[in-house]
Symmetry: C2
Subunit: 356 residues, 2 copies
C-alpha cells in the first residue's frame, strides 16, 4: 500500500468500519438523507445526515437511520458506543437544544459543524455541549480559508477533524476569500502539521482522480457532496438531479450568487458565505437587468411546475459544485464509494500489478 | 513505480533527458531567464525561456542558453536535433517573424504559445510556421478553460502538448471563467481521452504535494511558475522576490486585478485575461477609492525606490500565483526540481520502503 493511503491511527480506531481511502458523503441540507448516509457507511465510508428544514427533523431521520442500520444485513461494523453515521448542523439556523438532544439520544459517531454566526464562540458552545452528552461523538468543523483553520487551533474545544473546503465546492462556501484546494489544502496542512488533527478535503472532488489528488495534497480523507446528489438515495427532486447529470463545464456553467437565496426567501446566512449554483434562466435574466420582482414572480411560477422548474431554461435554485462536469449518471451511493475507492487504489498501484 | 508516474511514450522520446515526474518551469515573461531554463533542464526537467520585453531579446537569450549548455558539464542528455529548452511566446505582443527566425536558428525542443488576439487563427499561424522551420519543435499551447481546450481538438495545427492552467495561477490567467485545477483538469482530461495529446497541469503547484496531486488528476507532467521566481536564476528584482518568499495565505493576499497593468501602462492584453498579483498598498488604496491619478503618481515614485517599491506597503506590480504561501525561501532551481521529484516519488512509494 502506498503511504498516501494509510489511515491515521485515531481515525482507524474511531471509524473501524471505514476502509482506505476514507470517503465521506457531506451533510447537504435535506438532500443528504438517512438512506444516503447509511449506504455510504455500509460501503466502508462515512455518511453524514444533512441538516433538516427544521432542526427537529433530525429525530425522525436518526430514527430512520437506526432502523436501516438494524435491518441492513451489510450493517457497518462498529463499536457499540456510537452510530456509524454522522450528523451535520448549520449553526446559524439550527437549534442547539434540539440538536444536542438528538445527539444525546442517538450518539452519532460524528457531528459536522458549519456556518456559525459567531466563529469565536458558537463552535465552542456546540462542541462543549456535544461532548458533555456524547463524549464519543467526534467534532468535525468545516473551514474554507487559512484564517478560519488557524483560528481553530486556539479554540478551547479543539475539533477532532477539520474539513478544508475549496472554492470549487457546491452550496454555501466562502464568498470572496475562497481558493482552490490545490493551494488552500497544503497551506492549511502546513499550519496543522503539529496539531495531530486529521484534515479532510472537500470541494470539487467527484471521482477517484480528485480523491487521489486530495490524498497527495495531504488529506486524511475526502468528502464528496455533489457526486452523491446523483444517487437514488439523495432526497432531491428529479428535475434538480437531472441537472447535476446534464450540466458540464463547471467553470462556465456554475457561479456563486446570492440571487437564488433571495428568490427562495432564504435570509440569515452569516457574512462571507455564498452558494455555488448551476446557472439557469433566473441568473441570465438577472445579469440582463430584469427587475427582481419579475424574477421572483417567474421563479414562484416555476416552483409550481415541479421538475420542469429546473433545467437550462428553468428558474429554480440548483446548488451544485463545479464538479458537475465529471458526473454523467445516477449511481447507487454504494457503487460510487466502491468505484472511487478502486480508482484511488489504482492511482497508487505499481506498474505491472494487475488491475483491481 | 506507480502507474501515475509513467511518462507517456511520445514525451519520453522527445525529451530523453527528462526524468519522471515531468517537471517544467513556465515561460514567465522576462523572469524565466536563460540560466533558469538551463538549470531546470539540467536537473532532468524542462526549462522554458520567457518572452522578452521585445521579441528580439530572444536571440540574445537563446545565444546565452546555447553557451550555457555547452559549458555546463552537467549538460542535458539530448538528441542533437534540438535545444533541450523551450521558449515561450505571448502571441498578442510578440513579433511572429522575429520569433520564427529565432526558432529556425536555435531549434528549441518546444515553443509555448499563449494569449493570442484571435484564438481561431493565431495558434495555427504560429504553429504552421514553427513546424515549417523546425519540424522537431513541439508546439505547447496553454489554456485555462474547457472551451479553449476543446477548440484546440479541431485546430488544423494540433498542439503536441496542452497546458491546463487552473485559477490559482499567477500572472495573466482567465479573468472570469477560470476554475481550480481539481475540477478543471479532469474535465479537460476526459475531453482529451482519445486525442493522444499529453496534458500538463499548471497553476498553484509549488511543491511535491501539488505536483503529485496533478499527476493523480491525470497530468502527464506539471508546470511551476511562481515557485521558480524564488531562485537565484530568476531575472527578478530582489524586492519582488522577497515578496514571493514573505507572503502567505494565497487566498487572502493575492487577487486578480487589472490595476497594476494600468499603473504600468501595459495595454493590449486580449479579453478575458487578468493577472493575479500579491495585494499591496496600490490595490488597498484603489479599493478605498483613491483616484487613479494619485495611485499612478505614487506608483511611479515607488518605481524610483527600487527594491523598496515592493512589500506590503509597496506599490509595484507583484504578479504571483496563489501558491506563495507554500514558498518559504530562495533555492537553486536544480534543488527545487530534485526536491519536488523526491516528494512526488515518496507520495507513491509503498509503505515500508525506505525513504528516498
Amino acid at each position: 500500500m502506498s503511504r498516501s493511503l494509510r489511515l491515521a491511527t485515531n481515525l482507524a480506531r474511531h471509524y473501524p468500519w471505514v476502509t482506505t481511502p476514507f470517503i465521506v458523503s457531506a451533510p447537504m441540507r435535506v438532500m443528504s438523507s438517512p438512506s444516503l448516509a447509511v449506504a455510504v457507511s455500509n460501503a466502508g465510508g462515512l455518511g453524514f445526515l444533512g441538516p433538516g428544514v427544521k432542526t427537529q427533523d433530525i429525530h425522525k431521520d436518526l430514527e430512520e437511520i437506526s432502523t436501516l442500520l438494524k435491518t441492513n444485513t451489510a450493517s457497518a461494523n462498529t463499536n457499540s458506543e456510537s452510530l456509524p453515521v454522522g450528523v451535520g448542523f448549520q449553526l446559524w439556523s439550527d437549534d442547539v437544544t434540539v440538536g444536542i438532544a438528538a445527539i444525546e439520544r442517538y450518539k452519532p459517531c460524528a457531528a459536522w459543524l458549519y456556518a456559525p454566526h459567531n466563529t469565536d464562540t458558537d463552535y465552542d458552545h456546540w462542541a462543549r455541549q456535544i461532548r458533555r452528552v456524547s463524549p464519543h461523538t467526534h467534532i468535525w468543523i468545516q473551514v474554507g480559508s487559512l484564517a478560519e483553520a488557524t483560528a481553530l487551533l486556539s479554540a478551547s474545544e479543539k475539533p477532532d477533524v477539520v474539513v478544508v473546503q475549496g472554492a470549487e465546492s457546491g452550496g454555501h462556501g466562502r464568498e470572496t476569500d475562497g481558493l482552490g484546494l490545490i493551494t488552500l489544502f497544503p497551506e492549511v496542512a502546513d499550519a496543522y502539521a503539529d496539531s495531530g488533527i486529521p484534515l479532510f478535503a472537500a470541494g470539487g472532488i467527484a471521482d477517484g482522480r480528485g480523491a487521489a489528488a486530495a490524498l497527495c495534497l495531504g488529506a486524511d480523507g475526502v468528502v464528496m457532496g455533489t457526486r452523491f446528489l446523483a444517487t437514488p438515495e439523495a432526497r432531491i427532486s428529479r428535475g434538480y438531479q437531472n441537472e447535476i447529470v446534464r450540466a458540464s463545464d463547471g467553470a462556465a456553467s456554475t457561479t456563486r450568487t446570492f440571487l437564488y437565496n433571495q428568490l427562495r426567501g432564504t435570509v440569515g446566512w452569516p457574512k462571507n458565505y455564498s452558494p455555488r449554483t448551476i446557472i439557469n434562466q433566473s441568473y441570465r435574466d438577472h445579469q440582463a437587468g430584469v427587475p427582481f420582482e419579475e424574477l421572483k414572480r417567474l421563479h414562484d411560477e416555476a416552483l409550481q411546475a415541479g421538475d420542469d422548474g429546473w433545467g437550462p431554461e428553468g428558474r429554480l435554485a440548483t446548488y451544485a459544485g463545479a464538479s458537475i462536469g465529471l458526473i454523467h449518471g445516477v449511481k447507487d451511493a454504494d457503487t460510487i464509494v466502491r468505484e472511487v475507492r478502486e480508482q484511488v487504489l489504482e492511482k497508487f498501484a505499481p506498474v505491472g500489478k494487475s488491475k483491481l
